[in-house]
């Protein structure tokens, strides 16, 4: 057996039958060998990385069921019994329930707003010729590569002057604005791929532009809307930087901020088990949703990069 990690090149063996798909049963021996070594090697590496990905998550779940003393004394031991009281404490005393509610409100509002406004802008930019079309398109798309933090300093005062600081609806408007660049970029490309004839036929039949859009084009754009919707949902649900700057009132905290806040305050109280319960509570719904909608999520998140 070869033990080196990188097998030497297989010398060309003349006179071998040409191996085409589904052809000969006899295989050149060296190649089998090499394939086997590579196979063991690649499985080994892949398993190691899988363990490295999963172990921190497993550790978090285990810790969330332990009492504080065993968290400190033996970090990797199994819980002596399942301390569900950690979860109860996190949900009520540590305000996780409120953080969940705030997050659902903010993400619900901004997701709908992003999809409606994003598809309206994208449709017009993709389908109509007018002066300034390209300029507006690049204005939107350019927003993807600018460092958001630069804008956040003045934005704080813009939002403050409008009386929108520390409000749920203010946060929704900002989330929508910062989700528009990718949404418009993605949906403009998507609307361009839809056939023009259907919209024209509807228009000839007397439908207005607005009606054509809502009743014909939007339903046709459903696959694109689902992809970009998942992308925005995860981005907005996991958002940390925008609320950290614009939403400093503890009562209005969203999940990510709330947990970071909790980590700071529980550090003083010493309730680590409650904190871990909160962390796992925030992780599990997203992981569960991912496992159920795995194909759509991967499609939604990789769609932008493959364009």
């Amino acid at each position: 057996m070869k033990t080196t990690e990188t097998p030497a090149p297989v010398p060309a063996e003349p006179g071998l039958p040409v191996t085409k798909t589904g052809a000969p049963p006899a295989r050149p021996p060296r190649q089998t060998h090499e394939g086997g070594v590579l196979n063991v090697f690649s499985h080994g590496i892949l398993v190691i990385w899988a363990i490295m990905v999963v172990m921190p998550l497993v550790w978090a779940v285990m810790t969330s069921f332990k009492d504080d003393r065993s968290i400190f004394s033996s970090p990797w031991s199994l819980p002596d019994r399942l301390h569900f009281d950690n979860w109860a404490r996190a949900w009520t005393d540590a305000h996780m329930s409120e953080y969940f509610l705030n997050t659902v409100l903010v993400v619900g509002g901004s997701l709908i707003g992003t999809l409606v406004l994003g598809s309206m802008a994208a449709y017009v930019l993709a389908r109509f010729d007018f002066p300034g079309n390209r300029f507006i398109y690049y204005l939107f798309v350019g927003g993807m590569s600018f460092p958001v933090m630069l804008a956040l300093v003045p934005l704080f005062y813009v939002v403050n002057n409008m009386g929108l600081l520390n409000t749920i609806h203010g946060l929704i408007l900002v989330y929508i604005a910062y989700s528009l660049p990718f949404t418009v970029f993605f949906l403009t490309a998507f609307f361009r791929t839809l056939p023009a004839s259907v919209a024209e036929a509807a228009f000839v039949d007397g439908a207005s532009h607005t009606r054509t859009f809502f009743q014909i084009m939007l339903p046709m754009a459903r696959p694109g809307l689902i992809s970009v919707g998942i992308f925005n949902f995860l981005g907005q649900w996991n958002q940390y930087m925008l609320p950290t700057v614009l939403n400093t009132d503890p009562d209005k905290h969203v999940l990510t901020q709330g947990l970071v806040q909790l980590a700071v305050s529980q550090g003083y109280k010493g309730d680590w088990s409650g904190l871990f319960a909160g962390l796992v509570m925030a992780m599990l719904p997203v992981l569960a949703a991912y496992i159920v909608f795995q194909r759509q999520v991967v499609q939604g998140l990789t769609a932008g990069a493959l364009k």
């Binding site: 191996t19 090697f41 990385w49 927003g143 700057v245």
Partner: protein, 308 residues
Amino acid sequence: MQHGKYRFIVGFLAVPLGLYALFVVWPFIQSIYYSFTDWTGLSPDFAMVGFDNYTRMFHDDIFWKSLEHSLLFAVLLPVVTIGLALFLAFMINVGGRRRRGGPVVTGVRGSSFYKIVYFFPQVLSIAIVALLFAFAYNPDSGAINAVLRGIGLDGLQPLWLGDPHLALWCVMAVLVWSTTGFFVVLFSAGMASIPADLYEAALLDGASRFTTFFRITLPLLWDTVQSGWVYMGILALGAESFAVVQIMTTGPGGPDYSTTVMVLYVYQKAFRDGQAAYATTIGVALLVVTLAFAAIVMRLGRRERLEF
């Protein structure tokens, strides 16, 4: 299609464009303007000071440290993450044992399982990931030192985030952990679309599988790698590095400023120290770095597009 066309266009664009202009474009323009003032952010009064903020920035040691760390993030993180992801994706797609009569190049058994698991960190918030690892790195009760003790390395108990020489690497490792899976899945999709005949022909000609990676896989995947590189670099300069450094490191910014990055420094100057104008100056520097990074990667990576 002319009737009412312009009214429709204006009607549909007004709200999204207005919102975008007010909350995104206008603040960007303002912040460049503010970088030439002495605005504190606390009072509405300010005066123009010309290039004073920029002069101050060039003499600010912490700024240079944050720039150095940000550049390290932007250069090193994509290299490590994308390199590791390409390697894992290649193993998933080409490392399979050849089954009798099957194609020459196959994916490993359970390839879809690996892809599902590797993608886990991508759906979690970077803030949650940062918190989790902040505890894992804890020198006394954290998971990592406990593993070291468990395998008999009692003498090796680093302070991790508390050690100025290690803290930055700890933070980077977390970003590698959380983003590699996304690129594995992305590259796997690209590799799956490369026709198997190309590998067959190369293997018949005597190429090893590792040669096929550099001669076939990488060139055909180059466009995806390049856009992934830019994407990763922008994240590493911006939101992701802000979250991990702010949440994980003490200060925040690490012991002896050993982990501070530009985006965190902007945040601290504006919202902790009441120096909004100076913060926007550092923000402008961050903008320059980001755009220069994207331009350099696009330029270096430019090659003939390969059709297959």
